[in-house]
Amino acid sequence: MKEIKEKHALLMRWTHWVNFPVLTVMIWSGLFIYWANDAYGISIFSFTLIKFFPEWFYKYFHIPHRLAEGMAFHFLFMWFFFINGLLYIAYTLFSGAWRELVPKRNSFKEAWQVLLHDLHIRKTTPPQKKYNAAQRIAYSAIILMGAGSVITGLAIYKPVQLYWLCWLCGGYHFARIIHFALTIGYVLFFVIHILQVALAGWNNFRSVVSGFEVIETEPQIREEKTLTANNAENETNGSK
């Protein structure tokens, strides 16, 4: 027999889906800004492995010469990103939902099992509640990353007025590097996230839109329970 099991609160779903387009706009406009001084890359022994970003990339996304436009978008959507994130964090803290999100002591060990299972190396299914151990780590990390983007962003944005934030981030240069690296992190997160959601299937995906999952329960046990519950209710009603 099917049963509806509540999974995600409305506010969690709302902030999740608001964040997706807002973060997309932030990354897009961020590229306009980054292009004006695209200093970063990964190199080993002065051999450049990756340059952020190659010309074809800029061309394909129409990035060049849009700094002013990028800043205008970035400094509007930063508000939405911040408010939306704050809403999620506040809700998660006050509702107690953080208990199912924040990694537990054994989460790191368990996350390894999740990884082995997902890579089809291990057969046994690791324990899965609302979130499994790997999800706890990933989804907590992404919230910390979001906070990191806000903090490093402010440090770059107002390095004189918010000098203490800039200092906290290790200075102007380091703040800019973290701000950039976090963005790369979001893109990597996105790729894995989409893959995992596709593999997890419809029931899981639906829960982030409608809030519930449908689970199969054994019918007989369920029916007995409901019967006794009804009886109990009738009895108490009668006694009153």
Partner: protein, 263 residues
């Protein structure tokens, strides 16, 4: 009311019906809101450019947002918040030249005839020579010059603190106006600065770079160094200084950049 009566009028939904109904409502809302978001985005993306004036070149709603955001972040401004300073050894020997608007397009400029013109009112103006400015107390600063493009460089400048200059020439009452405008002698480059940043203790009228007179490309004989702003506001070769309660014209604000551009 008896429970049996209720059953006749309204049967409780089966699980399947409940699932269907909740799917319908939530996905309906999801796509409706999603559609709204797409429509909103298209509206913003295709929103008309602001009317060209003191500011220009940005989408009208985005300009409004920039101006509102300015007001918010102005709350964090304080004269006690100083740009970080460095020892002189850290200053770049080769100082970056990023733009020469107002300098290379002024072939007639003769540094010997240069005087700073301070507009007192419509008729009157003060003319001040570089010698007079150099006679005022000197302030040095080694700080991280930040360009709106994202690069930065530690640079060593010296000159007179702008607030000292205003006091000395009894311009402090005039400087109580909301804005100061600065322009190059040929008027090709110009900036507007709000009072707070003008009076910030690290804002200087500079005539020396790395201990020597400023070179032509860096804005000889006198330029603005204002660490609480991006480089675009650090006008080279000041020709005219004026005061107003409205925003003076600003070169990059006309091209879609934030008017405030404060750090």
């Amino acid at each position: 009311m008896k429970p049996t009566d209720q059953n006749k009028t309204k049967k409780p939904l089966t699980i399947e019906q409940k699932i269907k109904r909740r799917n319908f409502i939530s996905f309906g809302a999801f796509f409706a809101l999603g559609g709204g978001a797409v429509a909103g985005w298209k509206w913003l993306l295709n929103s008309p450019e602001e009317n060209a004036g003191i500011t220009g070149g940005a989408r009208a709603p985005l300009r409004r947002a920039l101006n509102k955001t300015e007001l918010f972040f102005r709350n964090f401004f304080s004269n006690n918040h100083l740009a970080k300073t460095y020892p002189k050894e850290r200053a770049a020997k080769i100082v970056r030249v990023n733009s020469l608007i107002g300098i290379k397009d002024d072939k007639d400029f003769d540094i010997k005839n240069w005087k700073l013109e301070v507009k007192i009112d419509r008729k009157e103006s003060l003319k001040i020579s570089i010698e007079e400015i150099k006679a005022l107390p000197k302030t040095e600063i080694v700080f991280d010059f930040k360009c709106v493009e994202g690069w930065d460089q530690i640079q060593h400048w010296a000159g007179v603190k702008l607030s000292d200059f205003l006091l000395h020439y009894k311009l402090d009452a005039l400087a109580e106006k909301n804005y100061m405008g600065l322009e190059t002698p040929n008027g090709k480059y110009y900036v507007g600065l709000e009072r707070d940043s003008v009076l910030h203790p690290q804002t200087i009228l500079a005539y020396e770079m790395n201990g020597k007179p400023i070179t032509n490309d860096h804005g000889a004989p006198l330029r603005l160094i204002i660490p609480v702003k991006y480089g675009i506001k650090n006008l080279k070769r000041i020709g005219v200084m004026s005061f107003s309660n409205q925003r003076p014209r600003d070169y990059w604000a006309e091209q879609g950049y934030d008017y405030y551009s404060g750090l």
